[in-house]
C-alpha cells in the first residue's frame, strides 16, 4: 500500500509561507512527479511528506493513518537524495543493510534482501567497496538499493539524477521506471527537468510558488494546459506564446502554438527570418525572428530541412492544436 493524502497542508519558514494551503491525493502504486522551477516548493513538499520538515498546519495521511506527527522512520517511506547521502565510512553492503539493522531485521533476512537488491541493481561485485570508490551512477544505485530493502509504502526521490552526466541520466531514468513497473510501489519524484517528468510520470504535479498549478497525466498537461504557466513549462522546446492582434483573431488574449504544430510551407499566414537552425538529424529546430508575433518563434520540422541563416520562410500553424488563454492566463475551452 502507498496511498498518500495531503489535506490543507501549509509550510511557513518564519513569516514566509512557502506552501500555501495545498490538497493532493497520491494513489497506491502511482508514479507521481513534482515539477516546477527552482524555489517553487517541490522539494519542501517532498520533505513534508517524508517528515524531515514539520508541517505548519494541515494533515498528512499515509495509508489511512494520520502521519503528520510521525517521525520520518515511522512513515514507512524511503528517500533517495540528490547527493546520494551514502554513509561514507560504511561499505556498500553496510549502507544497504543500515535501515534493516535499525529495524532489527534478522541477519539471514538482511542477507537475502541485500543479495536481491544487489542483483537487481548490478551491485553484486561492489558490495565490499566504500561509496568513495564508486562512480556517480553506482552510488545512485546504492542509494536506491538502500531504499528498496526497506520495502517501503512509497519511495521519495529528490532530484536523484541531477548530479549525473547526460548519458547516465537517461540510463538511470529507464532503470527507475523499470523498477517502478516491477515493484508497483508508489513513487514520488521531484525534478525541475520536465523531460524527466514527461517520460516517467503517471501523474505530474506542476508547482509554482508552492501552489499546484495543475495535476494530470503527462499528455493531459501537454494537450490541455490549464494556464499559461503550465503551457510554457511543459513541452520541449517551449510553446510559442503570441499576444496582441493575432491572438485577438482567435478570440483570445494569448494564443499558444507548440513548435511541432507550426509547419514550414510555401505560403502561409505567418513569415519570418531564420536565425539559428539546429540540425539533430531526426528533427530540425528553427529559431525564427521578425515574425511580428513574438520575439523568437521556435519551429520543429521533422527530418532534415534545407534552410539557412537569413532565409525568409513562411509558416502555417495547426489551428486545431492551438491553445487559447484569457486575460488572466487561464485556458479558454
Amino acid at each position: 500500500m502507498g496511498q498518500i493524502t495531503l489535506n490543507k497542508v501549509t509550510k511557513s519558514f518564519g513569516e514566509v509561507q512557502v506552501i500555501p494551503p495545498l490538497d493532493l491525493d497520491i494513489n497506491d502504486g502511482e508514479f507521481v512527479v513534482f515539477v516546477g522551477p527552482s524555489g517553487c516548493g517541490k522539494s519542501t513538499l517532498l520533505r513534508l511528506i517524508a517528515g524531515l520538515e514539520d508541517v505548519t498546519s494541515g494533515d498528512i495521511v499515509i495509508d489511512g493513518t494520520p502521519a503528520t506527527d510521525l517521525p520520518p522512520a515511522k512513515r514507512r517511506l524511503a528517500m533517495v537524495f540528490q547527493s546520494y547521502a551514502l554513509y561514507p565510512h560504511m561499505s556498500v553492503r553496510k549502507n544497504i543493510a543500515f535501515p534493516m539493522k535499525m529495524a532489527g531485521v534478522s541477519q539471514e533476512e538482511q542477507q537475502r534482501r541485500i543479495d536481491g537488491a544487489a542483483k537487481a541493481l548490478n551491485l553484486t561485485d561492489y558490495l565490499d567497496r566504500r561509496p568513495g570508490q564508486l562512480s556517480g551512477g553506482q552510488r545512485q544505485r546504492v542509494a536506491i538499493g538502500r531504499a528498496i530493502v526497506r520495502e517501503p509504502a512509497a519511495f521519495l526521490f529528490d532530484e536523484p539524477l541531477s548530479n549525473l552526466d547526460a548519458a547516465l541520466r537517461v540510463g538511470m531514468r529507464l532503470e527507475i521506471s523499470e523498477l517502478h513497473k516491477r515493484l508497483e510501489t508508489t513513487m514520488i519524484y521531484v525534478t525541475h527537468d520536465q523531460v524527466e517528468a514527461m517520460t516517467m510520470a503517471d501523474k505530474i504535479v506542476v508547482l509554482r510558488a508552492g501552489h499546484i498549478e495543475q495535476v494530470g497525466s503527462p499528455l493531459e498537461l501537454y494537450r490541455t494546459p490549464r494556464n499559461l504557466f503550465v503551457a510554457g513549462f511543459i513541452g520541449s522546446p517551449k510553446m510559442n506564446l503570441i499576444e496582441g492582434a493575432e491572438a485577438g483573431k482567435h478570440g483570445a488574449n494569448t494564443i499558444g502554438v507548440r513548435p511541432e504544430h507550426v509547419r514550414v510551407t510555401e505560403t502561409g499566414p505567418w513569415s519570418g527570418v531564420v536565425g539559428v537552425s539546429e540540425h539533430l538529424g531526426s528533427d530540425t529546430f528553427l529559431h525564427v525572428h521578425d515574425t511580428g508575433l513574438c520575439d523568437v518563434m521556435t519551429v520543429r520540422a521533422g527530418g532534415e530541412l534545407n534552410v539557412h541563416h537569413g532565409d525568409r520562410i513562411s509558416l502555417t500553424p495547426d489551428t486545431d492544436k492551438m491553445h487559447r488563454f484569457d486575460a488572466e492566463g487561464l485556458r479558454i475551452a
Binding site: 524531515l52 520520518p72 547527493s83 547521502a85 551514502l86 554513509y87 543500515f98 535501515p99 535499525m102 538502500r146
Partner: protein, 276 residues
C-alpha cells in the same frame, strides 16, 4: 602561478627558519642537557655544553624524593578523564548547534568562548570554597570536573566546526532509515567525525596536561599531577637547577612524545575545513 625562488633566497629562508626553530627549541634542549649535569656543572660559568660528566643521579634523586610515577598517573587520569568527559558532553551539544541551530546558537557559542577570556583567578575563591564544602579538594575527581568545565568551550567549538562540514543530508538519510537520535550520533555522525574528534581529544589532553593554575591551587598531595611535581622544586632552600631540570624533563617528556607521534593528526585536525 608558482613563484620563482632563487637559490640565494632559498638559503636565506632556510637560515631564518632554522634560527627560529633553534631559538624556540633551545630552552627545552638546555633543560634536558642540564638534567644530566651535577648541580655545580649546572650553574658553571661559562656554561658547559657537552664537556661535562654525564650523570643520571638527578633522575634517581627526583624519583626518590617526590615519587614521579604517582604524579604521572595523576596527570594521566586528570587529562584523559577530563577530555573524555568533555567529549561525551560536547558531542550532543555540538550536534545540536551544528544541525538544529536556533536563533541564539551563535550567541551561545560566543558566550561559551567568552568564558575562556575570564581570568581564572576571578573564580578561584568560590570554586575553592565549593570544592572544600563538597570534599573535592585534592581529589582527582575534582580536577577532572574543573578541567572539563575549563576546556569544554574549546571542545564544543572544535567539534561544532567539524560537524558543520558533514552534509546534513546524510543525517537526514539516517533518520529516514529509522535511526534514533542516539543511533544517528553513534553510527553515522561520530564515525564520520573521527578525524575531528581525534584531534580535539589530542589537543585537549595536551591542554589539560599542561594546565597549572587549577592543578596547583586545588591539590596538595593526593591528586597532585606533574605540574605540582615541577613546582615543588622551586623550594625555599634555593633552586637546584639540575634537579629542577630533571623534574621538568620527566614532566614534559610524555606529552612531547605523544604530540610528536600524533602531529600529523593534530595538524590535519586543526586545519580541517580550511581548504575544501
Amino acid at each position: 602561478m608558482a613563484r620563482a625562488v632563487t637559490p640565494r633566497r632559498k638559503a636565506i629562508n632556510s637560515a631564518v627558519a632554522w634560527t627560529l626553530a633553534i631559538l624556540i627549541f633551545f630552552p627545552i634542549f638546555w633543560t634536558v642537557l642540564t638534567s644530566f649535569k651535577t648541580e655545580a656543572q649546572a650553574i658553571a660559568d661559562p656554561p658547559l655544553f657537552f664537556n661535562f660528566d654525564w650523570t643520571l643521579e638527578n633522575y634517581v634523586t627526583v624519583q626518590e624524593r617526590s615519587n614521579y610515577f604517582r604524579h604521572f598517573w595523576n596527570s594521566v587520569v586528570i587529562s584523559v578523564g577530563s577530555t573524555l568527559l568533555g567529549v561525551i558532553i560536547a558531542v550532543p551539544a555540538a550536534w545540536a548547534m551544528a544541525f538544529v541551530p536556533g536563533k541564539q546558537t551563535k550567541n551561545v557559542l560566543m558566550w561559551m568562548l567568552s568564558t575562556k577570556m575570564l581570568p581564572p583567578v576571578g573564580v578561584l575563591v568560590p570554586i575553592y570554597l565549593i570544592f572544600r564544602n563538597v570534599g573535592l579538594l585534592d581529589t582527582r575527581t575534582g580536577l577532572v570536573i574543573v578541567l572539563t568545565l575549563i576546556n569544554l568551550p574549546i571542545i564544543v567549538w572544535m567539534l561544532y566546526t567539524y560537524f558543520r562540514e558533514i552534509p546534513g543530508e546524510i543525517l537526514e538519510a539516517a533518520r529516514m532509515d529509522g535511526a534514533t537520535l542516539r543511533s544517528e550520533i553513534l553510527y553515522v555522525l561520530t564515525p564520520m567525525a573521527v578525524p575531528g574528534i581525534a584531534s580535539t581529544v589530542l589537543l585537549n589532553i595536551i591542554l589539560a596536561w599542561n594546565e597549572a593554575f587549577w592543578t596547583l591551587n586545588l591539590t596538595a598531595a593526593n591528586a597532585a599531577p606533574l605540574t605540582a611535581f615541577i613546582a615543588s622544586y622551586s623550594s625555599p632552600e634555593g633552586l637546584f637547577y639540575a634537579k629542577l631540570s630533571a623534574a621538568s624533563t620527566m614532566a614534559i617528556a610524555p606529552i612531547l612524545i605523544m604530540g610528536w607521534f600524533s602531529q600529523k593528526q593534530l595538524v590535519r585536525g586543526l586545519t580541517f575545513g580550511a581548504v575544501k
